[in-house]
Point group: C3
Chain length 206, copies 3
């Protein structure tokens, strides 16, 4: 039951991430193939990099559902492109949910590969946030998450919260739920109240 729920969340997150990539690709006049690739990289790029760093072949090579969900996302944008914008808030929520879940998945996969907690925090953050960076590289833009709002920081804080839950002896499912919920709330609150990190002052002369 909890597995089914997690799977649904996982697909919703993948769908939301893919939509974000496909929409940005469409703004760049990409064709359907290009949009699909950008959507897929946004959705699975973070987890792919995590798996390579941990020494595994990427998760999606053992399970076609992620690429199929990305295909649905492309189909959705092709059919309902003009309505997608009205659903901005819905996708924002899906994206935040995906961020929270992907962070937990990344942390747990790293711990089960016997890496220490600080590596797991980095891998959780990569799983959640790196797809968007790779997306921005593919569409030739400066990565958005390096300049706007709290995004990766929510994953990092989620990593600390996971650690504290484990240290305080919380049950496994409680730890997962608290961590994912924290990431989601931090993300939503930071966007709602325009909370962001300080910008590093530019030095004009180079």
């Amino acid at each position: 039951m909890i597995i089914d729920f997690t799977t649904i969340i996982d697909y919703l997150g993948t769908f939301a991430f893919a939509i974000s990539g496909i929409r940005l690709a469409s703004a760049k006049q990409f064709d359907w193939f290009g949009a699909y690739v950008v959507g897929a990289v946004t959705a699975i790029g973070g987890g792919t990099t995590r798996d390579l760093l941990l020494g595994y072949s990427p998760f999606w090579m053992y399970q076609p559902s992620y690429l199929i969900v990305t295909g649905f996302a492309l189909f959705f944008v092709i059919c309902f492109g003009r309505y997608v914008i009205r659903l901005n808030n819905t996708f924002f929520i899906f994206d935040a949910i995906g961020l929270g879940l992907f962070t937990v998945v990344g942390i747990e996969k790293s711990l089960s590969a016997e890496f220490p907690m600080w590596v797991a925090v980095i891998m959780g953050t990569m799983t959640g946030a790196l797809g968007g960076v790779l997306r921005d590289i593919l569409i030739n833009e400066v990565p958005l998450i390096f300049r706007k709002e709290i995004y990766a920081i929510a994953c990092i804080l989620g990593g600390f919260i996971y650690y504290f839950c484990e240290s305080f002896g919380f049950g496994h499912i409680t730890t997962q739920l608290v961590t994912a919920t924290s990431v989601i709330l931090i993300r939503i609150i930071s966007v709602k109240y325009h909370i962001s990190l300080p910008v590093l002052k530019g030095h004009d002369d180079y």
Copy 2:
């Protein structure tokens, strides 16, 4: 005999891919080293990514010939730069041949690593088409294959054709030849008749 022929084709494909990278690097005023790197990434970047995803060290680390062929490509552009443009059609043919062959190589390496056919199709496509994407990232341009003509799609169709040939019990060499030839013809026909995928409609407001 068939091995020798494949090897020659392999080098011609590598040469053509490297030339495409080196020419675009020269348009960006890269120095010889930069041009060499862009040429090499164009030629071997797809296969390198495939090997990492499959869990291998990249093929070129066991066989210096690919980097040597790239060196010849650089030498060729340095010496005959002004004539290279006249040879556009020749290089286009080489490039299409390389695309076909690289696709077959990628499919077979994935199958021999015991991944299922759908992974092999993706890996064949990466082997053929990802080098050009990495090239465009290095020269800071939006990847060409996401916007123009049939390119990666030829590799994907080649993957399906490979699958059908195998299913119909064709011999191994027949399957290879039919697949590579199909990719090459699809690519040539799509350029000749300006066939391309639909562009995803842009949404101006983001």
Copy 3:
């Protein structure tokens, strides 16, 4: 004793590489997180790619000091940003020292993984020079080292010097010192005398 000295040099090189990434990130108005990531990628991106190609999980996943040094670099730029520019020459020297040391580290790790010398030369060059390329991709600029001065070439020449020292039966520490010093001197001399590779002539018509 020699290990301590190498460790200090390693940290100084990491610090200088990270500073170079963080400064360029600040010129792009990145926030602290973005600047940290760019700094880290500049410092450890080359070695990370090397380790993935060799078939290892990256070195920094077993040793947090590299990410901590990057944190100090960010702190340093945040606190002393306006003075960093005056220290340009100091950082240039640190960067050259890092380049020399990273080259030796990359060569030796590849040889100990039983790859041949020509692979080790490439891996040494990647360890030294690829971080800067990844930095430039992240900040959406054309990679500087493909257009300016001798940089990666110093690493390549260092690789040949390492090979000759080994062939002539030099002791291990002598080989390391001669190689690193050569890379550092080649880099410094090439900047001082504006030595660079020829630019590949552009072909305007494509």
